[in-house]
């Protein structure tokens, strides 16, 4: 009886301890978002006092107006959306097409080419940064979103991912049957492979969209004019001012972050599995 009771208290203690750890971690993860919102709604003078504001204020609109007066917020959000969407759609198409070829078609040098693609994943992107910049200058793509989109279409991981998925989910018999019926290779890809690989599309789309949306170094190098800024580059303009208005800075950062967070909260299962599965599988 007494050992059972002690087991029970031990279990309760363990449980309490685990809850405590998780609660602290969750609070520390969420607090910066809350704090961003607090600052985005307070006047700079309230923020810059001791102690600073810890509850939301009434300057939500005023701070955001300052953001709009300082940077082209909506223009930059639009650019980011445009670049991320176009690149993602392009990647889905090109990677699934290449993945289909590697998984279901016979051709010479298949293994060699596939390994070559995998090897490119190992190269750090900064290695070619300067010549890439020179190429973009020569193409006259400086300040042009094409400079982000075209290099963004290179996605070795995507090809790898699609090949794995198509290999294990599109049955060979179906492909062969379609070919006997006289389907062209592209028809087989379009009518048989595509419908099956929709889940893999969702995963790859999330990974790619997030990657392009958050990318900073490359856009910073090739987008020099404000009209071409993506949101990440534009946000930097907020902190580059002589007068640091923290209310405004946080307002811009907050509103740039909110859309993705909302999408994440709505699709959290898909997001979490997509973003981590990719890492584990490769």
């Amino acid at each position: 009886m007494s050992t059972q009771a002690s087991m029970k208290t031990k279990n309760t203690m363990e449980k309490g301890f685990i809850y405590l750890i998780l609660a602290v971690a969750a609070i520390l993860s969420i607090f910066p978002f809350y704090w961003m919102f607090v600052m985005a709604t307070n006047h700079n003078s309230v923020i810059n006092s001791v102690p600073p504001a810890f509850i939301p204020g009434a300057e939500l609109v005023a701070n955001f107006k300052n953001v709009i007066n300082t940077i082209d917020f909506f223009g930059a959000m639009w650019n980011s959306l445009l670049v991320s969407t176009i690149t993602t759609i392009g990647v889905l198409f090109l990677c699934s097409l290449a993945g289909f070829a590697f998984a279901k078609l016979k051709f010479k040098g298949k293994n060699f080419l596939f390994i070559a693609i995998l090897v490119t994943m190992m190269i750090p992107p900064q290695l070619g940064l300067i010549p890439q910049y020179i190429i973009v200058t020569k193409l006259d793509w400086l300040n042009d979103l094409k400079a982000i989109i075209f290099p963004g279409l290179i996605d070795a991981f995507g090809i790898f991912w699609m090949r794995q998925y198509i290999s294990s989910n599109v049955p060979d018999e179906l492909v062969d049957a379609a070919k006997i019926d006289g389907c062209t290779n592209f028809r087989v890809y379009w009518n048989i492979a595509i419908p099956v690989i929709i889940p893999a599309f969702a995963t790859l789309a999330i990974i790619r969209f997030m990657y392009i949306w958050n990318d900073f170094l490359w856009p910073l190098v090739v987008l020099r004019e404000e009209s071409s800024y993506t949101i990440q580059v534009a946000l930097r303009g907020l902190i580059d001012n002589y007068v640091r208005d923290n209310g405004m800075i946080m307002s811009g950062t907050f509103w740039a972050t909110v859309p993705l967070i909302i999408i994440f909260l709505l699709l959290n299962r898909l997001f979490i599995s997509s973003l981590t599965e990719g890492a584990v599988k490769s």
Binding site: A101, G128, F216, V221, Q232, I272
Partner: protein, 305 residues
């Protein structure tokens, strides 16, 4: 017989089925190789060429031999950037991975309810862009008395620190940004690993009378090893390429306390327009990444025995 004949006549034609299939395949994989040739391979080869040239991007190139490498390797700021990068790698990565394992363990516990709420909140930082993280933490770690971190350390009786200009303050601030953004990501990866461990292994060790510590030591850690190696590998490569956080936090001053190798490269190329030395720095970084990755693989294989 007739059938076979017509078949063989068909294969003699140029566009037989095999050829058609191979042609389609090459067509389908070609976009990658064309794009990679233009925006990947050529730039990399050209970097190696540029490393031996003197060039500001406009005038004539001039061959200078190993001068750029000599120049970089004798520049104290380059060494500073390298040591900063390595220090922040350790500060940002190790606590992050350890905490990731602990949190994954907690999330995997059968005793816990509301798992998805914890999972979502812990993962949320990863969805935030690096720039946003750096801006928010930059404001928290500002050097004024009203900075959040200064107020927090004030509760423990510590005087306000000048985070942005002190040797360890900068590194701590930047490591915290990396730490905060990636803990949840690694937690979920470890969690996936933990869930992949078959329950029979624990049951078997229960029958053998194993303690909790023994279970962790002989079941969990060995089963989790490939995933631990993976996370160490990816976070190391990420840490060696640290750029956004220091650039946002220390700004155009490129202060020595926080400059990283990639930031150094960026400054050489796009602030000083010294494309030669910047390319040399890129090559050196590449070599460092290869060396550290090899050490990683080597150590992983050793532990793997």
């Amino acid at each position: 017989m007739e059938h076979v004949d017509s078949q063989s006549r068909k294969t003699r034609k140029f566009w037989n089925e095999d050829r058609k299939e191979a042609f389609s395949a090459y067509l389908y994989v070609s976009p990658f190789f064309i794009l990679f040739a233009v925006f990947g391979l050529f730039p990399i080869l050209f970097s190696f060429y540029l490393g031996f040239q003197k060039w500001d991007g406009l005038g004539e190139m001039e061959y200078v031999g190993l001068q750029n490498f000599e120049w970089i390797l004798t520049d104290p700021i380059f060494w500073k950037s390298l040591s900063n990068t390595l220090i922040m790698w350790v500060l940002g990565t190790i606590p992050q991975l350890i905490l990731g394992i602990i949190l994954a363990y907690a999330l995997n516990s059968a005793l816990i309810k509301m798992k998805s709420i914890f999972r979502v909140s812990i993962f949320m930082p990863y969805v935030t862009s690096t720039v946003a993280v750096a801006i928010v933490f930059g404001v928290m770690f500002n050097s004024q008395d009203f900075g959040l971190m200064n107020i927090i350390i004030g509760w423990f009786g510590v005087d306000p620190l000048s985070w942005t200009t002190s040797e360890w303050g900068v590194k701590l601030a930047i490591s915290t940004m990396v730490f905060w953004r990636w803990v949840g990501y690694n937690t979920i990866i470890y969690l996936a690993g933990l869930q992949g461990i078959p329950n029979e292994l624990y049951e078997a060790s229960d029958i053998d009378g194993a303690t909790v510590r023994q279970k962790i030591q002989y079941v969990t850690i060995p089963m989790l090893r490939p995933i631990i190696i993976l996370t160490v590998f990816t976070s190391t490569i990420g840490a060696l390429q640290l750029f956004t956080e220091p650039l946002i936090y220390i700004g155009r001053s490129y202060r020595e306390e926080g400059i990283t190798v990639v930031l150094y490269l960026y400054r050489e190329a796009f602030a000083n327009l010294a494309f030669g030395p910047a390319s040399a720095a890129a090559i050196i970084l590449f070599v460092i990444i290869i060396i550290i990755s090899s050490i990683n693989v080597f150590v992983a294989n050793r532990i793997g025995r």
